[in-house]
């Protein structure tokens, strides 16, 4: 079911803003990740502008929905989204990676408003959301917890340790989103070519199903597909849900898409200009 067209246009415009902020912030910092953040833009925008029950003026609100970016290296996308949503001024995004900044290279819940859990060591962010969901049930709270994982990240055993326990306790107030862009940092040669590298992990939906999760597949860059998936996830009872979101690493910038070299590369001034031109052309067209 497609979403309201006006909402869709609004979210798409937000997504373009987030992509620009990501590229500018990394360019300015001279460090940081690009591919993974661009891969998760629609997911972050859908979360913070439609799905999550949150209050930007009260980031510590005890009854807020929780969202944990377990693939913490992509946090610049989250910072940009949080800023646009009003958690802190947009200019602050440009302090990314600067000394004493609240915009750390990886999410730090002691520093940044709106960050529900520190993360950055892949896999370690998978389990705290399960704890949050279990605590909500124990304390009679009705908030929902979301955990955003990378498809490279789910190579970590800890993710599957969490998956087992979550279904064991029928934790239906927890949803995992797998950012399934099929590229990791260095990865594995594709068709024997050592210079073309991918994440060869296959049968991702089947893996989660085998662990007892309800699985929904969606297009992680299409709000008409993504938002209904998130809404469905909240209605599933008796087991946790995993949304396998098909995404493209580096999405939105042609020369970054699907290329492992752009996992954590800083765009030059020319590359930045070219990327902006592409994003603007796509928005206009």
């Amino acid at each position: 079911m497609p979403i309201d067209p006006a909402l869709k246009r609004d979210l798409q415009a937000k997504a373009v803003q987030v992509r620009k902020l990501i590229l500018q912030a990394v360019h300015k910092a001279g460090a940081g990740h690009v591919g993974g953040p661009l891969s998760m833009v629609e997911i972050a925008v859908a979360m913070y502008f439609k799905i999550l029950r949150i209050d930007p003026k009260n980031p510590q609100w005890p009854d807020r929905d929780r969202y944990v970016l377990s693939k913490g290296h992509s946090c610049i996308a989250l910072y940009a989204t949080l800023a646009l949503r009003g958690f802190f001024p947009v200019e602050e995004v440009f302090t990314y990676d600067a000394m004493n900044s609240r915009m750390q290279g990886h999410p730090d819940m002691t520093k940044t408003p709106g960050i529900d859990m520190s993360s950055g060591s892949l896999g370690t962010g998978a389990s705290p959301p399960l704890g949050m969901a279990l605590a909500a049930k124990r304390l009679g709270k009705d908030f929902h917890t979301w955990v955003h994982l990378g498809d490279g990240e789910i190579q970590e055993g800890q993710v599957w340790e969490m998956a087992f326990v979550a279904s064991q306790y029928q934790v239906d107030n927890l949803t995992a989103i797998v950012d399934y862009n099929r590229v990791q940092q260095f990865g594995f040669p594709k068709d024997g070519n050592v210079r073309r590298r991918v994440n060869p992990l296959v049968q991702v939906p089947e893996k989660w199903r085998a662990f007892g999760w309800h699985v929904i597949e969606c297009d992680g860059h299409d709000f008409d597909s993504l938002i209904p998936a998130c809404e469905e996830a909240k209605t599933i009872k008796g087991r946790p849900t995993c949304i396998v979101a098909h995404t493209i690493k580096g999405k939105g910038v042609s020369f970054m898409e699907g290329d492992y070299n752009w996992h954590a590369k800083v765009p030059s001034p020319e590359e930045l200009a070219k990327a902006f031109a592409e994003l603007e052309a796509a928005q206009a067209g």
Binding site: A31, M99, H106, G120, G157, Q185, F186
Partner: protein, 313 residues
């Protein structure tokens, strides 16, 4: 100006070199080949490289198995993950059975390319030093790094090599000879002895210049091997001046300072000061600002030296 070289590049090039002489070498990568420079082997000698994926615990166990059958696995990841994520696998399946597994801990210390707290391990020396049978080496520059890679490869048993990310000055000449377990005198002096390890030794050299300009003569000794520690070497150097300052890009608990205190406390007690990270985690930031905020610059080392001398008077 000394030449600046990235130790990680030296590590990668030395690994490639070793694939030609050591057919049993195998590089296991925790999906960081393009950060750690394991890619040098992945691209040029792919038969000697395997990505183990983002799964360090499994990687450590695989290394144990390979070593038990006669391969020489070199694990390559960030220091923060190698010293922590797979620690139980390291303890039970590598160090307890004394297996021949080598760890290349990249991006050690606080300068990790702005990645921040999660990627800064302030305690890797403390953790790995506490494992029986483990050898721990922190080279100061790329010359020493290369020699340490060769020496650790040919030494039976588990070893950890602490590697720094960014380019640092080359302080040793081609005539330098690294020996596992030996300290290296760098400067002669009489007022106090400074022990440095890893790249912090290069900052200690600059601190010696600052001190000299104020009429203080520091005796600088580099301690590349944190374990097994050179008891005789440390005692002899401490005896020279009777006052010891240690400096390291690591927590002040359990690192070089701890190791030196354990030795001198038992064999030759002297007045001592431990300089390093003040039991805190790091953050994201440019290198110069990080060193300044966390107090690791030559100026800070010199100030610590003066504080030690004033206390001693």
């Amino acid at each position: 100006m000394a030449k600046l070289i990235e130790m990680r590049v030296t590590w990668g090039e030395t690994m490639l070199e070793l694939t030609k002489t050591h057919p049993n070498i195998m590089i296991l990568d925790g999906d960081l080949g393009n950060s750690t420079m394991a890619q040098i082997v992945a691209y040029n000698a792919p038969d000697f490289y395997m990505n183990m994926g983002i799964a360090e615990q499994n990687m450590m166990g695989v290394a144990a198995g390979m070593a038990s059958v006669g391969l020489i696995p070199w694990l390559s990841s960030f220091a923060c993950f190698l010293a922590n994520r797979d620690l139980d696998q390291l303890r039970v399946t590598v160090t307890q059975p004394k297996l021949n597994v080598k760890l290349a801990g990249h991006y050690s210390g606080i300068l990790t390319g702005k990645t921040g707290k999660t990627h800064i391990d302030v305690g890797d020396i403390a953790i790995l030093r506490a494992l029986p049978h483990m050898t721990v080496v922190a080279p100061a520059d790329s010359v020493e790094c290369r020699q340490a890679v060769l020496a650790l490869t040919d030494m039976p048993g588990p070893a950890y090599l602490r590697i720094t990310r960014d380019a640092g000055p080359v302080i040793f000449g081609e005539d330098y000879r690294f020996a596992i377990g030996s300290v290296v005198p760098v400067r002669e002096g009489k007022d106090l002895t400074i022990f440095g390890t890893g790249v912090q030794t290069t900052r200690a050299m600059e601190a010696c210049d600052l001190l000299a300009s104020e009429g203080i003569s520091a005796h600088l000794v580099h301690v590349p091997t944190l374990k097994p520690i050179d008891v005789e070497g440390l005692v002899a150097a401490a005896r020279k001046t009777g006052r010891v300052l240690t400096t390291e890009d690591h927590n002040i608990i359990g690192g070089l300072g701890g190791a030196v205190a354990e030795v001198l406390g038992q064999h030759h007690p002297v007045r001592m000061k431990i300089h390093g990270l003040q039991d805190c985690y790091g953050e994201s930031g440019p290198n110069d600002a990080m060193l300044e905020k966390y107090g690791l610059t030559p100026k800070h080392i010199a100030a610590a030296a003066k504080a030690l001398l004033n206390k001693a008077r």
